[in-house]
Assembly symmetry: C2
Homo-oligomer: 252 residues x 2
């Protein structure tokens, strides 16, 4: 059996009770470490809490050489852990298909995801979000314009946009809200448009999440602190959304 | 302190370890019972597992007479439970604002939400979803066309649409996939458009979730079983999305 388990947002206590039980009963425990990340804990702390040895999986372990994972799942109960909810940051569809091809049963135990956590933290209504987008670190002459295009299309329909910020796990480099604002403002300038309001969220799911709303200048000035950071570019705010942001995100 | 806690998708074991600990330490436990629902359990089972008496909250308790909740939160640790992730099905923004106005500290402990669970269950990529929509039960001459309008707008941008099906908690009436397909097909007819493919998902998060893809006729024919049901109308499928649906959702 191969069980995909979402660990939730922050640390070892964000897994569901059902997920924790499955991990503690497992014969083999794998943790995907190349896309999503639990910033509030470490692998040794997870191992201690689960009472299990954890095998970290890098991109090539999942995409090119998944045989050890599949062999473990064929021989016993293997669990495949990711931060957030399973198959959201990266689908891992391929390894589930490969398992099924080998006749290995699979299932998913879901966890909390940043995709919905932002609704409670910002007070923005879930059904008003359009397509989400990621802001990648630029390199060389590559300067993608996709983020501003998605944001502009959503704004034209009066929809909110969830903006994921790039994570380079191998370099332990996490894009900050200030960096993302710089990139989006440059994109907006080139596209001949503008972004009137941002909402920045840091450390969702931790004991000290920070939510702050304002224009580009305000976002650059504000100290959001440690990663992970994420942003929302909202459409026109409903009254209750505005009141919530005034109350909980310093909106003026 | 007022803590909003998302209980996840199905039963008492889907809450996070952090959430469970907060409930067990709480002085007062409230459960929102008028929008979202945990179909895999009952209030007595939740009470037994938590070791706490649960006070159910109906719409008027939250929207008109929230004083008992706020008084409990002012006097000690009160927890406000909802199925899924907090503030997604309904925002409950108002009660958090009222608490803050009274100087009561608030926080959120997140849970798994159907909004992201559908990604793992269907293999559809999270970033390809546009705005979501709800299909309400029609009554009298009221026959809303919003669902097909949102779906058509998303399809025009080659985006997937998550389609929430109506829940009438007071009547214990949960819209089925077959009912929703009938309504959407009628809407599509009136709008002069069509929906080529549906994906139906039943009992997400339970031990026996069912995922099935097909056209309207196939959806009506297929036995999805007990609630809750939800649907996706996908945009054009990427190769890996198609392969996943063939493997795990009977797509032909």
């Amino acid at each position: 059996m191969l069980t995909f388990i979402g660990l939730g947002l922050c640390d070892e206590y964000d897994v569901s009770v059902r997920g924790l039980e499955a991990i503690r009963k497992a014969d083999a425990v794998f943790l995907e470490v190349y896309t999503s990340v639990l910033t509030g804990t470490t692998i040794p702390r997870l191992e201690e809490y689960y009472g299990k040895k954890i095998t970290p999986l890098y991109r090539e372990d999942v995409e090119l050489h998944p045989e050890p994972v599949l062999d473990a799942a064929a021989a016993g109960d293997a669990v495949f852990l990711t931060a957030g909810d399973s198959m959201v940051a990266t689908t891992h569809a391929d390894i589930r298909i490969r398992a099924a091809e080998r006749g290995i049963p699979t299932r998913i135990i879901h966890g909390a995801s940043i995709t919905t956590a932002v609704c409670g933290l910002s007070g923005l209504q879930n059904y008003r979000f359009g397509k989400s987008v990621s802001v990648p670190f630029p390199y060389g002459k590559w300067f993608p314009m996709t983020p501003i295009e998605v944001i502009a299309a959503n704004l034209a329909q009066n929809l909110h946009t969830l903006v994921f910020l790039d994570i380079q796990k191998d370099k332990e480099r996490y894009m900050t809200i200030a960096e993302a604002v710089d990139l989006l403002e440059e994109q907006a300038l080139r596209a001949g448009t503008s972004i009137p309001l941002y909402i920045g969220i840091a450390r969702a799911g931790s004991a000290d999440p920070v939510v702050h709303a304002g224009n580009a200048e305000e976002m650059r000035r504000f100290a959001f602190g440690e990663p992970l950071h994420i942003m929302i570019v909202p459409g026109e705010l409903h009254d209750i959304e505005r009141e919530y942001l005034v109350r909980f995100a310093g909106l003026c």
